[in-house]
């Protein structure tokens, strides 16, 4: 958690710092991100960072928490019960994600890049815990769909939940793989992750759903 000193800062300086570090962590691995570079760029002393945060990890977690909170404002309101099936629910979730991306591009970039920090030893354990939460959430959704009679019930729940998680991630992967989105470039241009690619993205989402549905639906 940031120290009181940081919270006391006037908000323009707070966001100067926050945004600079969001940028750095969006482009580099946790271990590769360089505090020295960032403070040089924004013209504050390295010591200041340590008046605001305990250490690099503390700073990183603060950014995770803030970005997640912002994203939640967008996707938190999307409820399964307002949609006829999991897949339209999923699609709407994605649409709200795009809105988040448009309106909070830095946070979006940061969260988008989180997965790249997977194997930075310093955050590996933490990442495992976070992944566990996500997978558990997907398992819960799968369970609900099975109970509703929407998903098939002949596959172990953990297998189904895990695959649901992976096919969700696969869309993001393919977008990056195929070069449709190039987060490293778009962040330099101060653009959202999906800038101008919204239709292509939603189109790919449709294709993925169309492909994958028969594996899950009853």
């Amino acid at each position: 958690m940031p120290k009181q000193t940081f919270l006391n800062l006037k908000s323009s300086k707070k966001s100067l710092i926050t945004e600079a570090f969001l940028r750095e962590f969006s482009v580099k691995t946790f271990d590769d991100a360089s505090l020295s570079d960032v403070v040089k760029n924004i013209g504050i002393a390295k010591g200041s960072v340590y008046q605001y945060f305990d250490d690099k990890l503390d700073l990183f977690f603060y950014l995770v928490q803030e970005s997640t909170m912002v994203k939640m404002k967008y996707v938190g309101s999307v409820k399964r019960e307002d949609h006829p099936d999991y897949w339209t629910f999923f699609k709407v979730l994605y649409e709200h994600g795009l809105q988040f991306d448009r309106e909070s591009p830095l946070q979006s970039h940061f969260l988008h890049n989180l997965v790249n920090n997977l194997h930075s030893p310093s955050v590996a354990q933490w990442y495992r815990d976070m992944e566990k939460q996500i997978v558990t959430a997907f398992e819960g959704m799968a369970k609900m769909e099975i109970d509703l009679g929407c998903f098939r019930d002949d596959i172990p729940l953990d297998v189904m939940g895990f695959m649901l998680y992976k096919v969700g991630a696969a869309i993001q992967n393919q977008l990056e793989y195929s070069g449709i989105i190039e987060s490293a470039i778009s962040i330099q241009k101060n653009e959202p992750v999906f800038a101008g690619k919204e239709e292509i993205v939603m189109d790919l989402v449709d294709k993925h759903i169309q492909l994958v549905r028969p594996a899950f639906d009853k």
Copy 2:
């Protein structure tokens, strides 16, 4: 490529070195792997490494190449045309992979861990190229299945190929995620990646296939 000096070494020393570095790169990221540590452990001078290889990357690529060649001896003989459908073909491929793992555990660990090097800046570009090759191979297989009338033809080929790649990888992911395999531990105990877990693994392969088939089959 290793220098002549390395190739001239008597094979016991060659494998001492090879195996020590396979171990190191199996447990750490490319950037985190420490030549200094390894040479200390096996009792040779750091300078020697640079008489054998141009640099760290050269050494790494040598290990990739060697390990891949060994694995190919196992899986190279498995042909699609000897099996009734993609899924039994895939399963047999996996079985041969398990044999490779049993008989060449160090190479297996190394290749297993390759994906963790994904975002080490020093190898990121190379990894992209490798991934491109793999995805292309999966696309080719998808195309073949469509032409054979086995896979559905209403999904763009690239989407299908990419998903085929991802669901293949998902098995490995889930094995690691669920703690069924713990490569970091098994390598310390000098055990293969899948030691004693063969039935569980093949069982999970079956479950994945059962789940995912309806998405691809016509």
